[in-house]
Every structure is written in structure tokens, then in C-alpha cells.
């Protein structure tokens, strides 16, 4: 089967994604906005088809891809060998880092990785996401709590139920700004690891893989991807109005 031909024939590109500030989120009208939304929209436009987003719970995103609920995942999914055994990845279209937000009361004295790497420390993350892998690797001794959603993990830190949470940049920074008294960004905002996010595709169609990969190569050398990435990730001033943040 030929995915590209199918998409052309159907006239729509179905994109699986999951809400994940600022990769993809809802503006005040309830419409989807974010880095990935821009990427997928341009991708579809370049293919000459319409784009259709299929918002999907993170834990079901791979089974949904396999069950052909959509053609491709453009969902800030980091490339890992484990995942690659089940799905195909394109060349990375973004390189996110992992950042850590920590509770001021519990962990203000912590400064090194080793401080967090204790069995008495609880670290929260989003189930199945790269940050969890990173946390496992960086803090093997600490207790890991996995959630279906980043916001839940973060609330745990705000409430002092977890010492810290790891998430892809820049979310920990955004959140810490909202709760300056309770939460701070650990390690001065330094990225803990560097991720490689690619589109995920079903196995077995190297033509499609080749097409998507080269689309990414073209758009990153033209600087478009970086420009969009900076718009969404550097700070919130560009899109604050869209989501109507009061702070």
C-alpha cells in the first residue's frame, strides 16, 4: 500500500496529535494552535491536501496509529530505539530539551542531579513520554510517578506531593512563571537531555518515510522550522493573546 497516494486520493492528511503546550493546545475559541499545528498545516499545504487533526490521548496514540485512525503522528514524539521497533520515525523536525520544575519548599536546597537521585524523592512525569525515560535514566533511585497528563504531574509539584516534575521544555518554565512562590525551574533552566522529535509512521512504507523526512530537511534548511519553533518556544508573548492568559 502507498500512503502518499492514499492521502492524495482522499484529499486529507490525517494527523494524530495530543494536547501539549505549546506543541498543540486550544485557543480561546477552542481551536487547535501550536507548533505542530503549524508544521502539519504547512505539510498538508505542500502536499496539496487538507489537514485533519485527530486529537488523541497520549497513551493510545501508537495503537491508534497502528489501527489506522490517522496517517502520521506529529505529536512531539521523541525518537527512541524502543519505539522505533514498533513504528517508523522521520528525521527529527525539532530538538526539544527536558526541563525540570521543582517544588520550592521541598527541593530548594537541591542543586545537583544527585540531590534528586534519592529514594525519598518523588518525580512526576507524563506516562510514556520521553521525560519519563529521561527521569529513569537520570534519577534511577528516586520514585517515579507517571500521569496521563503533564498538567496533573505539575499540579503534584505545586501541591508538594512530588519534589519535581520533568517535562519537555519550555513548559516547566511557563508553569513556574504562573506559580513563582511555589515552583522554580531546576538547574537554572538548563535542559537535562536533548530529544529528537520526528513524525511517526506505520511500518512498511519507506516511500512515505522518505517523503516526510525530506520535507523536514527542506524546511529546516530554509529556516522555517526554526522560525516557528522559536515563535512557540522562546516565550509566550507572540501567542499570549490567542489563549487569553490573565497573568
Amino acid at each position: 500500500d502507498d500512503l502518499i497516494a492514499d492521502i492524495q486520493k482522499r484529499g486529507t492528511l490525517k494527523v494524530g496529535m495530543s494536547t501539549f503546550v505549546p506543541w498543540a493546545m486550544r485557543d480561546k475559541q477552542g481551536d487547535l494552535i501550536g507548533f505542530e499545528i503549524d508544521v502539519a498545516t504547512k505539510l498538508a499545504a505542500d502536499m496539496g491536501v487538507e489537514v485533519e487533526f485527530v486529537p488523541t490521548a497520549w497513551s493510545g496514540i501508537i495503537p491508534s496509529l497502528i489501527a489506522k485512525k490517522f496517517d502520521v503522528i506529529i505529536g512531539g514524539m521523541s525518537i527512541t530505539p524502543q519505539r522505533n521497533l514498533t513504528v517508523n520515525f522521520t528525521t527529527p523536525y525539532a530538538h526539544s530539551g527536558q526541563m525540570m520544575a521543582a517544588n520550592k519548599k521541598l527541593s530548594s536546597s537541591f542543586s545537583t542531579i544527585d540531590d534528586y537521585n534519592q529514594s525519598s524523592v518523588t518525580i512526576a512525569c507524563r506516562r510514556g513520554a520521553t521525560p519519563c525515560k529521561a527521569a529513569q535514566k537520570l534519577f534511577p533511585k528516586s520514585t517515579l510517578r507517571q500521569f496521563d497528563d503533564d498538567a496533573q504531574a505539575f499540579q503534584e509539584v505545586v501541591n508538594g506531593n512530588a519534589h519535581a516534575m520533568i517535562s519537555s521544555a519550555p513548559k516547566p518554565r511557563f508553569w513556574s512563571e504562573a506559580y513563582p512562590d511555589e515552583v522554580f525551574v531546576a538547574f537554572d533552566g538548563e535542559n537535562l537531555t536533548r530529544g529528537n522529535e520526528g513524525f511517526a509512521l506505520r511500518k512498511g512504507d519507506s516511500d512515505a518515510l522518505n517523503f516526510f523526512s525530506n520535507w523536514i530537511v527542506v524546511n529546516s534548511s530554509s529556516g522555517w522550522l526554526k522560525e516557528r519553533h522559536d515563535f512557540w518556544f522562546k516565550n509566550r508573548s507572540g501567542w499570549k493573546d490567542m489563549v487569553k492568559l490573565e497573568q
Partner: protein
């Protein structure tokens, strides 16, 4: 109408096949007919099974059953290391066990409140019941976990336990109330007429008669509690479904793991139902 001739073959009795047998219908023909009906059913299940299999094949999914062993347990140097699924089912059982006891307590209190004359008892009990009945369990769980738990400083496991107990408690309340009200009116009157105090009336006359009516559905409640406990995976309590989800996100072997998890629940709940059935039959016989 279940009728069996004295000479109805054992097999037919066992299967509960209608024992209606015509004079000209020898025992062997009767067995043949029962077997034919069983065969029909098996055939149908085979067709369904084949459809599923064909579906799976068409999906070009790479089955990796050989990898599932360590999910249950590993033996390292003769030492038993429980795997995630094993740990998960233990947590599931703990969860169900604690919340079933709590739910019976909540149910009993609610039932008493609803049946009492007290305005507070009635209004609090019925408010509780209406709220539980008219919102989804999933939303209740989110409320418990995201709203109540942080407010009262309850941890994840207990938030799960309390939510399940509150949910099942509403059913327990109705079971208990139903059982008590199923005791004949004449029994209440006879107890009153002999001048028993209210406590004695319930302790010696009503409750002993209500218990046999209450116990079987209450054990049924335990089964549904085990089922519903799967939902606390949403708040990351490390029970069976959560462990399954975590494994899936680690390995992406979605279907193998879902089938295993479903199978484990099925074994747990059906074996419990069978036990309940046996219990009920025994109690009926005792009566």
C-alpha cells in the same frame, strides 16, 4: 421449563439441555441432539475467533508473545522476582479489598440514613446518592483526585480507594436497603407487638432475615469493584491496568498486553462469580 426424564442422559442434565424427549426419541438421539447444539455453539465461537484472527493478520501487527514471560515474574538465581503484572494484580486486590469494606460501611450508613426519620439523615444520604448516580465514575475519580485529594491531603492510593468506595457504596446502600425492606411487614409488626425495643427489633428479627438476602448481591458488588478498580489507572495508582499501560508505553506491545490484562481480570472475576454461585446454591439448599 426444565424437565428431565429419569433416564435423561447425564450430559444433557449437566448442560441443562431441555430434557423434553419424545417417546420415539431414544437416549442416544437425545445425546446427539445436545451434542449438536453444543457443536453449533462451538462452531460459532470458532467463526468469531477466526474473524478476530483474520483481523489481526490483516493489521500486519507483529506479535511478540515470546516477550511476555518476564512481565509476570522472573527467576534470577532461583529467586522469585515478581514482574509488573504480578505486582499490579496484588495492588488491584488490595484496592478492591479495602474499598469493598469501606463501601459496605458507607452503604450501611447511607441505608440507615435513608430509612430513618431524621431529616439530616435522609437529606444527606439522598444528596450523596444523587451525586454519585448522576455523574460518571471517571469524572468522580478526577474530582476526588484533582479536587478533593489535594484539599484534604490524601494520597493517590487512598484517593482511588475512597472514590471506588464512594461509588460502590451507593450500590451497597441500595442492596442493604432493599434487603431490609424485603423483610415482610408482618415481621416488623410482630416484633413491635411483642414490645421489643427498636434495637432488639432490628438485631434479632429484621437483620437476621435480611442478611441472606443481602449477602449474595454484596459479593456481586465485590466483583464489579474489581472491574471498576481498573479506572484508577487514570490517576497512576500502580494496579494491574496501570502496569499494563506502563508496559505498553515501554514496549508498544499493545495488543499482547491488553489481551493478557483482560484475561487476568476475566480469571479473577469469573472465578469469584463461580464462588458466589456456589455460595448461593448452598444457601438456597440450606433454606
Amino acid at each position: 421449563m426444565m424437565q428431565t426424564h429419569p433416564e435423561t442422559p447425564f450430559l444433557a442434565k449437566l448442560l441443562g439441555v431441555d430434557g423434553v424427549r419424545h417417546p420415539k426419541d431414544p437416549a442416544s438421539a437425545h445425546i446427539a441432539r445436545s451434542l449438536w447444539q453444543v457443536a453449533q455453539a462451538i462452531l460459532l465461537f470458532c467463526i468469531i475467533g477466526w474473524l478476530i484472527y483474520a483481523g489481526a493478520a490483516a493489521m500486519e501487527y507483529r506479535w511478540q508473545w515470546y516477550r511476555v514471560g518476564p512481565f509476570f515474574y522472573r527467576m534470577i538465581d532461583g529467586e522469585f522476582i515478581p514482574g509488573p503484572l504480578f505486582k499490579g494484580i496484588i495492588v488491584t486486590l488490595q484496592l478492591a479489598g479495602i474499598s469493598s469494606i469501606l463501601s459496605i460501611v458507607i452503604g450501611a450508613l447511607t441505608a440507615i440514613g435513608r430509612m430513618s426519620n431524621s431529616i439530616a439523615g435522609r437529606s444527606i444520604a439522598s444528596t450523596y446518592l444523587e451525586i454519585i448516580r448522576n455523574t460518571p465514575l471517571l469524572v468522580q475519580l478526577f474530582m476526588f483526585y484533582f479536587v478533593l485529594a489535594p484539599i484534604f491531603g490524601i494520597d493517590r492510593f487512598w484517593a482511588g480507594v475512597l472514590c471506588l468506595a464512594a461509588f460502590e457504596g451507593s450500590f451497597a446502600a441500595e442492596i442493604i436497603r432493599g434487603g431490609i425492606q424485603a423483610v415482610e411487614r408482618g415481621q416488623y409488626e410482630a416484633a413491635d407487638a411483642t414490645g421489643l425495643s427498636k434495637f432488639d427489633k432490628y438485631r434479632y428479627v429484621i437483620v437476621p432475615q435480611a442478611l441472606p438476602l443481602i449477602l449474595p448481591p454484596l459479593t456481586g458488588l465485590l466483583i464489579s469493584l474489581i472491574k471498576h478498580s481498573a479506572i484508577v489507572s487514570v490517576i497512576a495508582v500502580a494496579e494491574l491496568t496501570t502496569e499494563g499501560l506502563n508496559l505498553i508505553s515501554d514496549t508498544y506491545m499493545a495488543f499482547e498486553i491488553w489481551f493478557i490484562v483482560a484475561g487476568m481480570y476475566l480469571v479473577l472475576t469469573t472465578s469469584l462469580s463461580v464462588m458466589v454461585n456456589i455460595l448461593e446454591v448452598k444457601m438456597n439448599r440450606a433454606r
